[in-house]
């Protein structure tokens, strides 16, 4: 069942209970079908499956795809509405697949979902690797600064040498770099605006919707009137998927003609002159109240009192955190099993094996200990498919963490093995024990005493390092914290909640290790005098 968690999409946009979270039960049902679907062209696969899998990052926040602050289990946003509308035209349901925003195009190539739609800017360099749709939304960059401050820049012409925040790899970043600003790239939208208020930066340049949702709701900030550049959001498909592209394009045309698209943009407060002109709509003025934006402003503009959050908001988030904690625990436990097993082999080979194997063991340890886990994880998840090995996010997470920690474990066990006097092996051999028997009954139990405390430490470290697997589209604890933090702008309170979760899942293992240590330590003094006279 654990492996079922790994395969395919991580969330369903239309499911209010477990949106944003892997649903093991639901996925188990998919697995059987998925194999048969694999051979079909994407559009036919979507129809056979009855679901359009679209990739996005809920961590990116409002108004694109984000958790509803008043109902944290629910995924909302204008792109959620758009995906549902498109899927409806195709006669299927939409299911959102969570992935890191800057990795969405890589995940698309890996076939983790059918298309990517998440504020992806149209640009020529993307066309080399993916198929881009016609734009579905057009806007510009807006500069936001501190309100009531005479020393802030008044336009983009004033930003030279000033610290200005933006999203990494965005059009805003290129514009800021071009004007000689001290560009500061942030992964999370909310942080960009928070740092202006805190005085760490002097402004923020971002897509108009972002400036609207994160800048305009704070009275301490002011978004300047000018617009910069033209920004076009497009849907990305795999190069071969022209049939899917055409079908979605037809759906978008229908949605434009019957007014659905305009209704969605008005609801989210995004209807603007640029989009109206692009879609051929003569009326750029919104006719209805932006209910989506007003709800967002009401929910996050002013944080509810802490007690109220503890009593109402955090309990409502429990299912998301619990799912994520389970996933974190599953990845960590399986990775640790792999690390312990492989580490034991590596250490034994290094201490007792023939020379060529010893060299292999040393090389392994140096390679995996000496390179960042994140690099290994990215290579395994995005690199191996080039060699024909495509691992699920879950399997990639387990393998990468396991291989990496095996190096550390190997050194632990080697220290343990070296701590056993060579005379102990002589004694075992003189009694007739084979090398393997001596290792198993005499050396290992004594080595375990030395190796266990650092091993416990490593497991806790692994539990925390498992947060890195969110780069391969696994929604574990830290990722849920990021998503909810950005959707509610409640970073401090949720930070405490996620810290408690990590402690709760880690502590039982610490306690278990203490018990085992006491058991192993029985009959042994602190000096470890052993049988010496």
């Amino acid at each position: 069942m654990l492996w079922a968690v790994a395969v395919g999409p991580a969330a369903r946009a239309d499911d209010s209970v477990d949106a944003g979270i892997v649903d093991a039960e639901a996925k188990a049902d998919d697995d059987g079908v998925e194999v048969d679907l694999e051979a079909l062209p994407t559009l036919e696969r979507i129809k056979a499956r009855g679901e359009l899998w679209w990739g996005a990052d809920a961590h990116g926040g409002a108004p694109y795809v984000f958790q509803d602050a008043t109902d944290p289990g629910k995924l909302i946003g204008f792109e959620v509405d758009l995906a549902n509308a498109i899927a409806g035209r195709l006669g299927v349901r939409a299911r959102m697949v969570q992935g890191p925003w800057d990795k969405l195009l890589d995940l698309l190539q890996r076939k983790d979902f059918d298309l990517a739609m998440n504020g992806i800017e149209e640009s020529d360099d993307k066309r080399a690797t993916v198929n881009l749709s016609k734009p579905y939304y057009v806007s510009a960059q807006k500069l936001t600064v501190k309100a009531n401050d005479d020393h802030t820049p008044r336009s983009l012409d004033d930003v030279k040498d000033l610290p200005i925040g933006c999203l990494p790899g965005s059009m805003a970043q290129r514009m800021l770099d071009g004007r000689g600003a001290d560009t500061r790239a942030y992964d999370v939208q909310d942080d960009i605006y928070r740092d202006i208020v805190l005085g760490r930066t002097r402004g923020a340049l971002a897509d108009e919707p972002i400036a609207h949702y994160y800048g305009d709701i704070d009275h301490r900030l002011r978004t300047l009137p000018g617009s910069y550049g033209e920004l076009r959001y497009v849907i990305a498909y795999r190069l071969a998927d022209t049939a899917l592209r055409d079908a979605v394009q037809a759906a978008l045309t229908d949605l434009t003609n019957d007014g659905t698209l305009r209704t969605i943009y008005e609801r989210w407060g995004m209807w603007n002159a640029e989009t109206a002109a692009f879609l051929g709509d003569p009326d750029p003025t919104p006719r209805t109240v932006a209910t989506g934006f007003e709800a967002w402003r009401a929910a996050v503009g002013e944080q509810p009192p802490f007690l109220q959050r503890v009593l109402h908001r955090y309990p409502a988030m429990m299912p998301m955190f619990a799912h994520a904690a389970l996933l974190t625990l599953a990845v960590s436990l399986l990775a640790m099993v792999l690390a312990v097993t492989l580490g034991l082999v590596l250490a034994t080979v290094r201490a007792f094996g023939p020379r060529p194997l010893r060299v292999v063991s040393v090389a392994y340890v140096e390679l995996f200990r000496g390179t960042p886990l994140l690099v290994q994880l990215t290579m395994i998840y995005f690199g191996l498919p080039e060699l024909g090995v495509t691992l699920s996010p879950f399997a990639a997470g387990v393998v990468a963490l396991g291989l990496n920690y095996a190096a550390a474990e190997s050194e632990n066990y080697r220290a343990g093995l070296l701590s056993v006097p060579v005379g102990q092996i002589d004694a075992a051999r003189a009694l007739g024990l084979s090398t393997m028997q001596a290792l198993r009954h005499v050396v290992m139990p004594q080595a375990a005493r030395v190796s266990l405390p650092p091993m416990t430490n490593d497991f806790i470290a692994l539990l925390k390092d498992s947060s890195l697997v969110s780069v391969v589209a696994l929604t574990e604890l830290t990722k849920v914290y990021g998503i909810l933090g950005n959707s509610t702008r409640d970073h401090l309170g949720l930070g405490v909640v996620v810290a408690i979760w990590y402690l709760v899942i880690g502590l039982p293992f610490v306690m278990l290790a203490r018990r085992v240590e006491r058991r192993l330590g029985r009959g042994r003094s602190r000096t470890g005098a052993g049988s010496r006279r």
């Binding site: 002589d426 004694a427 009694l431 024990l433 005499v442 052993g530 010496r532 006279r533």
Partner: protein, 221 residues
Amino acid sequence: MIGVEMLVKRYGQADPVLRGVSFAVDAGQTTAILGKSGVGKSTLLRCLSGLEGFEGGSIIVDGVRVRGGESPIPLRGRVGVVFQTLELFPHLNVVDNCALAPVVVQGRRRDEVIAEVRALLRTLDVEAVGDAHPEALSGGQRQRVAIVRALMMKPRVLLYDEPTSALDPSLKAEVGRTVRDVAERTGMTQVVVTHDPAWADAHCEDIFVLDESGLTKTRDR
């Protein structure tokens, strides 16, 4: 019982440590091999116990012959060893220390082995410490436990490596009593490698002296 003929042992390309050592030990006797440090006493003991192979000559224990260049493993278990540092297993209690090899190597039933261990501990007056871990024992108790552990494999000869080194006179006498107890109560053939002529004189029957020229018998009772 134990016969050594023209034993040659060298490490790598260096000069041989043992160059043509020959001797024989009679069944039931306690024999000392005396020698200064560095003459190869410990090497001789490691060869006899099957822990190390050798280049020339042969060793016969109870009819089993190992020649130079052959695997010494057949000697293991036939020759029991009491190490200078005893090397009791610190993670096991006394009974488990003694029961490990018969159970793991010979595949014998554990309850039957344990009964035998307790009987042998009784024979050497250490039955009371059966459930203790080695670190809780006195030096003399540890030595008797190490002897019981070696005897459990039913060796034909028991080797002691420097059992009295770094001990004060009263403890040396206790080691002597232990060796005599083993001889009297089990009839075991024993070879004691030591650098202590006075102790050998007091507690052993036959005495050999190992020096650069080889092994010479200096006393034969």
